[in-house]
């Protein structure tokens, strides 16, 4: 006999829905009290919040400029972060200088907050180099394009910090789509197993190119981590204060030696996946409109205006600063030098490699023979 029994107990075994999003600033700019998270941002009001606001405005302005540069043929590609400013700025500013970052390709605001110089932000996208900066100069690895690969690097780095006896934390950024990759799940296993001081920061921007998050995850993404033994937080990714608070909380755990934490920042990709993408093929304009109403900058602006910290005058000065940054960014981008012909052979190895050395010499001789090297040719 094979009876069919109602599945109540199985359903009950699913975890209950996660706590509502952590939110400290609602879309209208009202400050929402939260006894757990408020203390993490008690230093951020008035002028401090105004500086945060300026960062948000500036990174959006850079992003818009980069898109324009791409349209003008000055960049090969650009992955806009429009709509994700709060998730990136809020989390980046929570970090200590010695904390190390392993990001994906869209975290240009994180890099900006980290002090990466403006033209270095676009070297990869202009195509003059495979990376823009020295990771050790800003404690941030250069963009990772292979989805999810960087999350394992973060775990290794974090375990290395613990071996070194320092309380440095590591944070890794990735998208909702990335949560499907084996590497990201392995990273959670390894992080939990070694109690690694690492923060998994997932920007759930609802899309992986054209694929909605529902294809990657049947449950809120934040629910995945606890099953690996990693506590998680689900935060309004368009609320810069909430993101700052949540990330500080997670980093505190890491600095204290309490192991990994997973953060899902719920946000929305307001632009195309990259400048090559055509979202009109798959995005419902209504959905986009709904999210436009939750804009991460508008709510800070509303809040600051209500608080009388932001006036038309300060707003104009912030906008002017942003324009200046954008102009410097553009100029720096256009001034980036093109790679020299033989540079393709540089840095393949750290130590001499006889095979490659021979190939390089051959190519050098060839280039000289056709007059394409200075001092060249018979």
């Amino acid at each position: 006999m094979r009876t069919t029994v109602s599945d109540t107990r199985i359903e009950a075994e699913l975890p209950s829905p996660p706590d509502e999003l952590v939110q400290l600033l609602d879309p209208e700019g009202r400050r929402i009290e939260d006894p757990l998270y408020d203390p993490y941002v008690s230093d951020v009001s008035g002028e401090a919040l105004l500086r945060l606001y300026e960062d948000l405005v500036v990174v959006r302005r850079i992003d818009v400029e980069a898109t324009a540069l791409q349209r003008q043929g000055q960049l090969g590609l650009w992955p806009p972060l429009l709509g994700q400013e709060a998730a990136q700025v809020g989390s980046a500013l929570a970090l200590r200088a010695d904390d190390f970052i392993f990001s994906s390709y869209r975290e240009n605001a994180v890099a900006y907050c980290r002090g990466v110089e403006l033209p270095q932000l676009v070297e990869v996208w202009r195509g003059t180099a495979q990376s823009g900066w020295n990771p050790y100069a800003v404690n941030m690895a250069t963009p990772q394009i292979v989805i999810g690969a960087q999350t394992l690097h973060a775990v290794g780095y974090a375990v290395g910090c613990r071996h070194d006896g320092v309380d440095t934390a590591t944070i890794t950024y990735f998208g909702d789509g990335a949560t499907t990759q084996g590497d990201v799940n392995e990273a959670m296993v390894f992080a939990a197993s070694f109690g690694a001081p690492v923060v998994f920061f997932c920007q759930n921007n609802q899309w992986a190119i054209s694929e909605p998050v529902g294809l990657q995850a049947q449950r809120p993404i934040a629910e995945r981590a606890p099953g690996f033994g990693i506590p998680s937080i689900r935060v309004d990714g368009n609320d810069v204060l909430a993101v700052l608070a949540a990330t500080r909380r997670a980093l505190d755990r890491a600095h204290r030696g309490d192991g990994p934490t997973f953060i899902e920042a719920v946000t929305y990709r307001m632009g195309p996946h990259t400048t090559s993408d055509d979202p009109s093929r798959y995005v419902d304009p209504l959905q986009r409109e709904e999210w436009a109403a939750k804009d991460p900058i508008a709510r800070v602006e509303a809040h600051l205006r209500d608080a009388g910290v932001l006036t038309d005058e300060t707003a104009a000065s912030v906008a002017a600063t942003a324009d200046e940054v954008a102009a410097a960014f553009r100029a720096g981008c256009l001034a980036l030098p093109n790679p020299a012909p033989l540079s393709v052979f540089d840095h393949v190895y750290a130590e001499p490699h006889t095979g490659l050395a021979r190939q390089r010499s051959q190519q050098e001789a060839y280039l000289r023979s056709v007059g394409e090297l200075e001092g060249g040719a018979e």
Partner: protein, 333 residues
């Protein structure tokens, strides 16, 4: 006959395969409403439904692993890997499962899986979007590896790949996606044979995929200077149609091979070694290879310094003809 771009020719080939055999299913990232990042699957989900054309969660190992299960069940899965550089997460499923299952089960289980991979450089892309990983798969027993250089071949060969009972890596030369040409849907020709595109008497140039057009340009330029060059488009990389290459080299005595992949351990080595073995007494010079360098693919603005081009091919033609040039001292002396 219709004029189509190479991308559209693959699209029409996929469409025919879907229409002709209801066991054919398409799997990939963004192949549904978006039609793939190169629009190769444009309109197919709309016309054949979400069960036949499936957007996949973002994991290449998952996609290929799932295709294995579908093949077990008698389907003919056609997987799209979005870019060459993203095939590596699926490497284990491809070389340890897809390639070996027919052997492992003594023929009981067939793996008629086609893996479509837009490959190669020349489009000014960021890292991981310009790679030529074909040698890894050609070295893997149990797989077939093919590539196309014209819309006609693209159309016919994708249908042949899907109809083949073996797993096929189908490399699409992405910088030629916008090349136009006549396509006859009813054309047919052997799947695993090379094609002599230009006949010539002095030197044989062997190319495949994106560099076929470059090889033809080089042959024409050489012809203008009085050298008669034969150009062979390999089309199939595993197996290689060495009979065709051998016949040509017996005639010309000189061989130049070109590909974008790194030289060291690339297919050029296999072709050179096999043809030397078959034609030793006919060769007037050692076969020359004109390839990408043994470096990672460089940044977009450096790719012109990396990719084989007309001048480098002509330089090699000169060399196998025994004309002194900058590299003469480097080879046989």
């Amino acid at each position: 006959m219709t004029e189509l771009t190479l991308a559209k020719a693959v699209n029409s080939g996929l469409r025919r395969a879907l229409a002709d055999d209801d066991r054919v299913v398409l799997l990939g990232e963004d192949i549904g409403p978006l039609g793939g990042v190169f629009r190769v699957t444009d309109g197919l989900q709309r016309d054949f439904g979400t069960d036949r054309v499936m957007d996949m969660p973002l994991a290449e190992s998952g996609i290929i692993g799932m295709a294995v299960g579908l093949a077990y069940r008698g389907f003919r899965p056609v997987c799209e890997i979005q870019f060459d550089g993203f095939i590596y997460p699926a490497f284990d499923q491809i070389v340890a499962q897809v390639a070996k299952l027919h052997y492992r089960t003594r023929g009981a289980v067939r793996m008629p899986i086609t893996i479509r991979v837009p490959f190669g450089g020349g489009i000014g892309a960021v890292e991981h979007h310009s790679e030529s990983p074909e040698a890894y798969f050609a070295h893997t027993a149990g797989l077939r590896v093919v590539t196309c250089s014209t819309p006609q071949d693209a159309h016919t060969m994708i249908r042949q790949a899907i109809a083949c009972d073996d797993p096929v890596l189908f490399f699409e030369p992405k910088r030629r996606y916008w090349t136009k040409g006549e396509v006859d849907e009813d054309a047919d020709f052997p799947f695993d044979r090379a094609r002599v595109l230009l006949e010539g008497a002095d030197v044989t140039i062997v190319a495949y995929g994106p560099l076929v057009a470059t090889a033809i340009d080089a042959a024409i330029a050489a012809g203008d200077e009085g050298t008669s060059v034969e150009v062979i488009d390999l089309r199939s990389l595993s197996p290689l149609d060495l009979d065709t290459v051998e016949a040509s080299v017996r005639k010309t005595g000189r061989l130049v091979i070109t590909h974008e992949a790194a030289q060291f351990g690339g297919l050029g080595a296999e072709i050179a070694a096999s043809i030397t073995d078959r034609c030793f007494l006919y060769l007037e010079a050692a076969p020359a290879r004109v390839t990408g360098f043994d470096t990672p693919y460089p940044s977009a603005r450096a790719e012109e310094h990396f990719l084989p081009d007309l001048d480098r091919i002509l330089d090699a033609v000169d060399r196998v003809l025994g004309r002194q040039n900058a590299l003469t001292g480097w080879s046989a002396s």
